[in-house]
């Protein structure tokens, strides 16, 4: 629909980069079909393995470059979990670290030209956000029992408006997985689409230099956004986890 309107000499297909395609031909995509999703997720696993397993191969007291990057990532997320979610959240650290590594590596791998950004798909981010949401809810009820519901009952507010606040709190609680997933997917999709749109303008010779400069600038912004979105997803996971472990404000 959009293409009909633009048409002509300028060919904009900013969303084509997000199409899921079977890797080895064929039209139908079954749940087990190896697709470009599979390829880029596999590359993500490969990159994580390279950094965290091959990088720390030396187990050196004085770390090599790769090892210190791995240790930095470990320390960064560990400290985040400890500071934001509390000391008793440390046993969830492997899960949170898994999410963080997957998101940041998928984001950065998606920045490679011609790459497929797995985290730009709402299906991917929604699964992660829902997993976090369900885990947090289950942990909250298991740890605190019914007193977990006090999360919605703001005891510091005047009694009259507490029911209203409770409704708002419940709604905001259930909107969490939506905003959690849409934020990441939306930021990734928007950035990549904008890069593509600016790249499409390069077809016009007169504004090609400008468009290339713009692509470079947006690309730089995207590098920043990739890291920040991974950080934000992780820290929000920690915040939700803190709510589950300590629901009393």
């Amino acid at each position: 629909m959009a293409d009909e309107a633009k048409g002509g000499a300028l060919e904009f297909h900013p969303m084509d980069q997000f199409i899921v395609e079977p890797l080895f031909g064929g039209d139908t995509i079954h749940w087990y079909t190896p697709t470009n999703v599979t390829l880029w997720m596999f590359l993500t696993v490969l990159a994580i393995t390279a950094m965290l397993v091959l990088g720390t191969r030396g187990r050196a007291i004085v770390p090599s470059r790769a090892q210190s990057v791995a240790e930095l990532a470990y320390g960064f997320v560990y400290k985040m979990v400890e500071d934001v979610a509390g000391k008793d959240a440390v046993k969830f650290f492997p899960y949170i670290f898994t999410l963080f590594l997957f998101i940041i590596f998928a984001n950065f791998l998606g920045l490679i030209p011609m790459a497929f950004t797995t985290t730009s798909h709402i299906a991917v981010t929604a699964v992660m956000a829902l997993a976090v949401f369900l885990t947090v809810t289950v942990v909250g009820f298991v740890k605190n029992g019914a007193s977990f519901l006090s999360l919605f009952w703001v005891s510091s507010a005047p009694a009259a408006i507490r029911p209203v606040l409770a409704v708002i709190e419940v709604i905001s609680y259930f909107v969490r997985p939506v905003s959690h997933s849409v934020r990441l997917a939306g930021a990734m999709m928007a950035g990549h689409a904008v890069v593509k749109v600016f790249a499409g303008f390069a077809a016009i010779a007169a504004i090609a230099p400008l468009s290339i400069v713009a692509v470079v600038a947006i690309y730089g912004l995207e590098v920043l956004v990739s890291a920040i979105q991974a950080y934000v997803f992780t820290i929000l996971t920690c915040v939700y986890l803190k709510d589950a472990l300590h629901p009393h404000h």
Partner: protein
């Protein structure tokens, strides 16, 4: 003709929804600016609050991304 009007409505709606992105930009700027103002008053307390800063930015930005999503849905999915 009917389709054209429907298309026009889609595009106008998408454009209006995109205003939300600008509004979110104002919100993010507000968060970051206020953080900076506070950080300059009390620099020693600033490092402990960067997590809060990013959470605030994330919440402000999420709403802008919702607006962007609405625009995209109007453009491509409706």
């Amino acid at each position: 003709m009917e389709g054209d009007i429907a298309n026009m409505g889609q595009f106008i709606g998408a454009g209006l929804a995109a205003i939300g992105s600008g509004a979110a930009a104002i919100g993010v700027g507000h968060v970051a600016g206020n953080f900076l103002a506070g950080a300059l008053r009390n620099p020693s307390a600033a490092p402990g609050q960067t997590a809060t800063l990013f959470i605030g930015i994330a919440f402000a930005e999420a709403l802008g991304i919702f607006a962007f999503l609405v625009a995209l849905l109007l453009m491509f999915a409706v």
